[in-house]
């Protein structure tokens, strides 16, 4: 009995290893994966992506496919990882997540990515909100990125702190307080000053996030639609900068370290009362609260309002590099992962907001409350915030300008080391050093 079973197993193992050898020989071929032709697909994502359960589901539905997942802690490191591997010409995963901020650089070498049109993406094109699909299309009409999530911005606020300052705490009243549909940055800063006067505390965590939000809602950001740099004599941008500088000078910035927040403690100890919240930020805040040992009792909530109107910040894409050995299988996986049904699940797992219309609708209908944010009707709020978002052209150095030109300049304001003029001049000088003359 025992012996025969053992023999059977050995025989099976032999067959299996033969199969592996056979498939190894035909490696690189584009044959569809099956139990007889097993392949391994690698996927690299970053931050809170919420794909873990989806991988398992896909593996189950597609026998023969094994997914090797790799998650990088944040978008900046994912960028370095992707760029070095592109430069080396090897090592990229079969499916790579690309962040909106550095999509511009990827577009410059879009020929190194597979045109997903060849794999039937045109059929599902209408799934996405137009601008998201267009962002993933290069000037030659090749589709190199499929949208996963988008970052419509709402305003997070802390009920406890609002109450202490005598502000309303109901999220609808808060939306009204900021001006509802006509909310402006002026009101935002004025309320901040009022808050600061009564409590003596800061209003927002640091200036750079507010600045990103302001720039993202302009029609043209750091680049004009034609791809020209659009900073130095941009009066509209300068006006916003001064507005922010004035607020910061009045002590409204808590001068926190972005994406660090004292390992989340700043979200717990009442350092600041409002926070600009693109949909994915809820996932980030969740992570920070967990790190600092906070929960729903910390009083964070999210209101359906945003100063200056609709704004989108961030969101990601899935791409398949030309170096992939299984482009067809990889494209199939990327398409499946970004399909509405899966986006709904991703959104539930990662607290982000889907980029396909059907998924958005589904989330609104399901109306699953977000417990951490005082049971806020997450889907409804962000669907409403997504209305009127205009896609802004992102140039090749967009994230560089955001992180290494304006962030340092705004730090001068946050730490109170300079005036608005000095900070702006520093930004322009950094821009010349790092982008114009790079």
């Amino acid at each position: 009995m025992e012996l025969s079973r053992l023999r059977k197993i050995t025989a099976l193992a032999g067959v299996a290893s033969l199969a592996i050898v056979a498939s190894g020989c035909s490696g690189g071929s584009d044959e569809a994966a099956s139990a007889d032709n097993p392949i391994t697909l690698t996927v690299t994502t970053f931050g809170q992506f919420g794909y873990d359960d989806l991988y398992a589901e896909y593996e189950e539905q597609n026998p023969g496919v094994t997914i090797e997942a790799n998650n990088i802690d944040g978008s900046a490191n994912a960028r370095t990882d992707a760029f070095t591997k592109l430069a080396a010409g090897s090592g990229l995963s079969d499916v790579v997540a690309v962040e909106e901020g550095w999509l511009g650089s990827i577009m410059e070498v879009s020929d190194q990515f597979v045109d997903l049109n060849e794999y039937g993406v045109a059929d599902v094109k209408d799934n996405w909100v137009d601008w998201k699909f267009e962002q993933g299309t290069d000037p030659d009409g090749r589709v190199i990125g499929l949208g996963t999530d988008i970052g419509p911005q709402a305003l997070c606020f802390n009920r406890e702190l609002f109450e202490a300052a005598g502000f309303p705490t109901d999220r609808e009243e808060v939306a009204e307080l900021f001006g509802g549909d006509d909310a402006t940055w002026e009101t935002y800063f004025d309320l901040g000053r009022q808050y600061n006067e009564t409590t003596g505390k800061a209003w927002y965590d640091q200036s750079a996030f507010v600045w990103n939000s302001m720039v993202n809602q302009m029609e043209e950001g750091y680049y004009t639609a034609d791809g020209e740099l659009n900073v130095e004599d941009n009066e509209a941008m300068r006006a916003q900068f001064d507005l922010l500088a004035a607020g910061t000078a009045d002590g409204l910035s808590a001068n926190q370290k972005q994406f660090d927040w004292g390992k989340g403690k700043a979200f717990v100890d009442g350092s600041f009362a409002v926070h600009v919240c693109p949909a994915w930020m809820l996932g980030t805040i969740k992570e920070q609260l967990e790190a600092a040992g906070g929960g729903p009792e910390t009083g964070w909530d999210v209101a359906d309002v945003f100063p200056g109107g609709a704004s989108n910040w961030g969101g990601a894409f899935l791409s398949v590099p030309e170096s992939s050995e299984h482009p067809a299988e990889a494209a199939k996986l990327a398409t499946w992962l970004t399909a509405p049904e899966q986006q709904v699940k991703q959104s539930a797992a990662a607290n982000n907001f889907p980029s396909t219309l059907e998924a958005q609708q589904k989330i609104v209908e399901d109306a699953v409350p977000n417990e951490l944010f005082n049971d806020a009707p997450y889907g409804e709020i962000f669907a409403s915030r997504a209305e009127g978002v205009v896609a802004q052209f992102k140039g090749p150095q967009d994230s560089e300008i955001q992180e290494n030109v304006f962030a340092p300049a705004l730090k001068i304001l946050d730490s109170g080391e300079g005036t608005a003029d000095e900070a702006w001049d520093e930004a322009v000088s950094l821009l010349n050093d790092r982008v114009v003359n790079n």
Binding site: A76, T80, F83, T84, L86, A87, S105, E108, V109, Q112, Q256, K257, Q258, F259, D260, G262, K263, K265, A266, S271, E400, N404, A407, P408, K411, I412, S415, D433, R434, N437, N438
Partner: protein, 376 residues
């Protein structure tokens, strides 16, 4: 064996050539070529992973070279010109120097002191020696993470303690000098024990009888340390200084992880040159300029190496030079009135007054010193 076999072949005059058999020729070849073959692996490897990248880096530095888009047009030395005019390059050099000095100097002083203490007769010697090496085992990444927490501006332990004493918080990340001190602390924490152990090994090899005779002559602990220990470990000290210099000019991990979201602080206040190189290559995607920085850094390290070499040639030589140094010192001492030496020599009989006393205090190269004195 081989040498004796070979001698006739090697020594034989030219006309004897045809008498060489194949074996003999093989032997000649063996004699001449083998040593080079034996040492060749290092040089082949060095050429592959040292020399070639060095040359290729220079090649890249002459081009516009984008990380993603690859080789661009030839620009000659323009990259060098631009980097040398770049305020961030000079800023990074300043930071490197500052962190290097803040780390190396205290590190060597403390390491020497620790080594001197461990060189004494203390209980549980091995335990103490192992303990000081412990920080070296911890990976720099972990060190950087722990210290970044300690040095946090708003929630860090150090600032919390300072505040509880009513002292203002120090902006460890945002101000230049505090950030340098924080990074130097990480470097020191990691390397002090390692250097102490090397210095300790050197100290152990100093003959004990020298200390004994010095002690008999009345030299106190500090006197023995400065006059015997330090001069004796000089060559090791130079080794430690050189390795610390090379390491100090290449500091990367600590500033990189002190604030992982930036490349050496929001306004590059603790961006070292290697970190600047890294940023240029992988954030700004400019391989040409990154290669240029690499080359400039290489030249700077070579320069430091030369300075080190010159200094070490002056102070680390054995025999004559050192002898002459001693001699002049001894002369100076001898010209001093003997009365000054006497009180120090407590237990000795006062009979042979002046002459032997300075002899034994200087002690190191005794016989040589005697010879010289007689010739004088």
């Amino acid at each position: 064996m081989t040498t004796t076999l070979n001698r006739p072949a090697a020594g034989s005059p030219a006309p004897a050539k045809p008498t060489l058999t194949f074996r003999q020729r093989l032997n000649v070849f063996d004699m001449k070529a083998s040593p080079y073959l034996y040492i060749s692996p290092f040089f082949i490897l060095f050429a592959l992973v040292g020399l070639f990248p060095l040359g290729y880096t220079f090649f890249v530095s002459l081009f516009d070279w984008h990380l993603l888009k690859g080789q661009g047009e030839f620009v000659g030395l323009r990259n060098f010109q631009e980097v040398l005019q770049d305020r961030f390059f000079w800023n990074s050099l300043f930071n490197t120097m500052s962190i290097f000095l803040l780390s190396t100097i205290p590190q060597l002083i403390v390491a020497t002191a620790i080594a001197a203490v461990l060189d004494q007769h203390i209980r549980a010697k091995t335990f103490w020696r192992m303990s000081i090496l412990l920080p070296y085992i911890v990976t720099p990444v972990a060190v950087a993470l722990i210290f970044s927490n300690l040095f946090g501006e708003q929630y860090g332990l150090i600032n919390n303690i300072l505040e509880s004493f009513g002292i203002d918080r120090i902006l460890w990340l945002n101000e230049t000098l505090p950030s340098h001190i924080a990074i130097a602390t990480m470097v020191n924490w990691r390397w002090t024990g390692y250097n102490a152990l090397i210095l300790l090994a050197a100290m152990q090899s100093v003959p004990r009888d020298i200390y004994e005779s010095a002690a008999i002559d009345g030299a106190g602990t500090f006197r023995r340390f400065f006059s015997i220990t330090l001069p004796s470990i000089r060559p090791t000290m130079i080794f430690v200084v050189i390795t610390a210099t090379i390491g100090g000019l290449q500091i990367f991990t600590e500033p990189r992880l002190f604030d992982p979201r930036t490349y050496g602080g929001t306004s590059a206040q603790f961006q070292t040159t290697v970190l600047y190189l890294y940023e240029m290559a992988f954030q700004r995607s400019n391989f040409g300029k990154a290669s240029t920085i690499a080359w400039l850094l290489f030249l700077i390290i070579v320069l430091f190496g030369l300075v080190n070499y010159l200094i070490s040639r002056r102070i680390a030589t054995t025999g004559d030079d050192r002898g002459s140094g001693r001699r002049s010192r001894r002369r100076r001492r001898r010209s001093a009135p003997p009365a000054l030496v006497l009180p120090a020599v407590r237990p000795q009989p006062p009979a042979p007054v002046a002459e032997p006393a300075p002899e034994s205090t200087a002690s190191a190269g005794t016989s040589q010193g005697k010879d010289e004195r007689t010739t004088r």
